[in-house]
Amino acid sequence: MPLLRPSRLTRLQRWQRTQASFWRQMAQRPLSLIGTLIVLGFIFLAIFGPMLAPYRYDEFIRDEENRRLTRVAPSWEHPFGIDKDSRDVFSRVIWGARGIITLPGAATALSVALGTMLGLALGYYGGLFDEIISRALDSLLSIPALVLALVALGILGPSPLTIILVVVLLYTPIVARVIRSATLNLRASGYVEAARLRGESGIYILFSEILPGVLPALIVEAALRFSYAIFLVASLGFLGLGVQPPSPDWGKMVEEASGEYANAPWALYFPAAAIALLVISVNLMADGLRRIFRHEGSLP
């Protein structure tokens, strides 16, 4: 036991040092820092939003005489106003954060996991296997994202699960390509060669030797994919695919309010602004990550 203690402390200290270094470097890039904080804020809303929102997403706002209020402009009581269906837009935007974070988040995580495994294998083993799979992935990438999404949703029927499947189908090849090229750079490095000479298995070399090396590229790619996935999911919501009323999906909210912009523009502006803010923030965060890793020499 006493022998283990210093090692454990060292690991903790190393982690703390990495954290401190990360935030210090983020602080030198104020825009990226703001972006990251906003993303964290949205994640907080996704977790605790339903507890914080003043109303339920489908609750009708009524006056003292129990009459439904509609198209009420923003006020202190309803900071984002009330929509045509008597609902508090502020509460709906807060409730909607969960869907717009979790659905693209889960889909991105899955794409990144699959793409990483595929990219590592393609880059490390190479040869005919790499040629065939890479060309197949390239052909998938040549189809415009929204077209592929519409076809897939048309065939499989719109549901959250299908949307995840569509995002995975779209983004796995992209992640795989990025990781493959990073792996190609590392394949010939000395420590990989050493592991091979030690007689380590392919799986060990991929996940213990190469993966840590491609991790910076992977994190940046994951953040970028996340922002694209948010936009794609919001677009599908706007097109009315995958979500049903009275869902507080931001894309759907924009669609519902788009015919109403002359009467209740606030119902359009706030969910649209929320989508824009989240996507821009994730991009700023990704940009910050990229710069930090490049500064540390982990990225080309």
């Binding site: 489908d58 009708f60 439904r68 509609t70 045509k84 269906d85 008597s86 009315g240 049903q244 009323p245 009275p246 519902e256 015919g259 109403e260 002359a262 009467n263």
Partner: protein, 516 residues
């Protein structure tokens, strides 16, 4: 003086700011001057482009409006659903209800100068039969003959109480006898040969159609000098064009769009009550959600119709009931007492009594049209108070109808357009085996009454039958009608005499004048 780079960059930001402000003020002043009409008496109509120009088969509003401008009917259905003479000045119905004799107007001529005679009427109606026109739904089976140039006689296979509505239906525009090519755009516009008040002088596909007033019109020359149809692909573009003064009249607007036009300077909002309505329908055959009439009644009790009309429809319409015989059928509409009671507690009690469960739940299919999504969202909350939980499934309009899903689901909302007579709805959707009986409702008493109404020509007797039908719907019917919608349009206030028709394509421009 001209603005060079030195001016823009060197003379500080203040002059640039003033320049920009001045431009913005000018633009604002221009936009604030309101809608302006052109000086002459040409009415510019903004609408979708008609696709099928044949009067016998072209069905939608722009198609009918286009043809109605050039051609005339034998008799006309007024916006209030009354029947008035047109190319037929009077008519007689034989006692057995099988023979209709029409006397024709004298002195009417086609645009090419040829006189209008009974041969033209015979040709037109036979052509409707030949082409299988939708007009046959109301006309039924008939034969037509012309004893002389000024008389036509229709002989029916069986009595048809709605036959006159068939004669005046929107497809029955009178064509010149023997016309082989009807409404074909060629080197000239000779094939657009009607007796109507306006003559087509130009047609540019995708852009516009131009008509000039027919100075020799048999009913007296119209007040307008001409009409121009300007084609727009969507209604928002039409609204923008009206606000910019580029068109003078638009129609078929959504309630959400019309409320943005209310109160605008120089714009008159036009509204006409119709029988167009959403049907909230509960499938009622064996094993279906509404098999037990108590469940169907629970849905009715849980529905707060005045709130739906007030909030979702923004008041543009008439409160609905439980049957499709709406207030626009002035002779036949009866307000069944207790038809629209809202009592969620009573709904819960009925649910418990009928099913033994505290609450019931169902998928709720909603066609994605008009404001039906908002209607569904409101119903979901109202019904929840009445112990009914629904899961809304919005369906694209084309897919929902084309796949016949609408005829199969347990619970849904369907849109039903305006019909000139109530019989159409009853025969299509509510009698046993009706072609569009989406609720699978089957009631022997109702079937019998609908058959009786079809052959009862006496209005009072028919009204009594429809009252009994209304009572059946209130007692055990499978539908809830939240409202009968108004058709909505808007016009430049400089024009007078514009009256929207319940079927907007039948709007009459002969009475319109430019007041300046």
């Amino acid at each position: 003086m001209y603005l060079n780079e030195a001016h823009l960059n060197g003379r500080s930001g203040i002059s640039r700011l003033m320049f920009t402000t001045a431009i913005l003020l000018i633009l604002f002043a221009l936009s604030a001057t309101g809608v302006t009409a052109q000086a002459d008496a040409v009415l510019r109509v903004g609408l979708n482009e008609p696709q099928n120009l044949d009067p016998a088969t072209g069905s939608n509003d722009p198609e009918i409006l286009f043809n109605r401008t050039i051609y005339d009917y034998l008799i006309e259905i007024n916006p209030d659903n009354s029947i008035v003479p047109a190319l037929a000045t009077e008519w007689e119905i034989a006692d057995d209800g099988l023979t209709y004799t029409f006397a024709l107007a004298e002195g009417a001529t086609f645009h090419d100068g040829s006189p209008f005679t009974s041969a033209d009427v015979v040709y037109t109606f036979n052509r409707l039969v030949e082409l299988g026109s939708p007009a046959l739904g109301l006309l039924g089976e008939f034969e037509i003959s012309a004893p002389d140039e000024a008389t036509v006689v229709f002989t029916l296979a069986q009595p048809n109480a709605d036959f006159l509505y068939g004669v005046g239906n929107r497809h029955a525009l009178i064509l010149r006898d023997g016309t082989e090519e009807v409404n074909v755009v060629g080197d000239d516009y000779a094939s657009f040969n009607g007796t109507g008040a306006f003559i087509l002088t130009d047609y540019s596909p995708g852009e516009s159609a131009t008509f000039e007033a027919n100075a020799n019109y048999w009913g007296g020359a119209p007040a307008l000098a001409g009409i121009e149809f300007i084609f727009f692909p969507d209604s928002q573009a039409q609204i923008d064009a009206l606000l910019d003064g580029a068109v003078d009249f638009i129609f078929k607007l959504d309630v959400d769009q019309i409320s943005a036009l209310e109160g605008q300077d120089g714009i008159t909002v036009l509204e006409r009550a119709t029988n167009q309505h959403p049907v909230i329908r509960i499938r009622s055959d064996e094993g279906a959600l509404g098999e037990d009439s108590r469940v169907r009644q629970a849905f009715k009790l849980a529905t707060n119709r005045p709130e739906l009309l007030d909030i979702v429809q923004q008041g543009y319409g008439v409160l609905g009931n439980n049957d499709p015989i709406g207030p626009s059928y002035a002779d036949f509409f009866t307000d069944v007492e207790g038809d629209d009671v809202h009592d969620p507690a009573a709904a819960c009690a009925l649910i418990l009594e009928a099913t033994g469960e505290e609450r019931i739940s169902s998928d709720f299919y909603v066609v994605d049209a008009f404001n039906y999504e908002s209607l569904a969202v409101s119903l979901q909350q109202q019904w929840a108070e009445g112990c009914i939980d629904v899961n809304i499934l919005l369906r694209p309009e084309g897919e929902y109808y084309a796949s016949n899903e609408w005829l199969e689901v347990d619970l849904g909302i369907t849109g039903w357009g305006d019909r000139p007579v109530p019989q159409g709805y009853l025969i299509e959707a509510y009698i046993t085996g009706g072609i569009y009986n989406e609720t699978h409702f089957s009631d022997a008493e109702l079937d019998e009454l609908v058959a009786q109404a079809a052959v009862t020509t006496d209005v009072a007797e028919r009204a009594a039958i429809y009252a009994q039908i209304g009572a059946i719907f209130a007692d055990r019917g499978p539908i809830i009608i939240p409202w009968f919608a108004s058709v909505l349009g808007a016009a430049n206030s400089s024009f007078e005499g514009l009256e929207l028709h319940p079927f907007p394509g039948q709007t009459d421009f002969r009475t319109v004048s430019f007041a300046g």
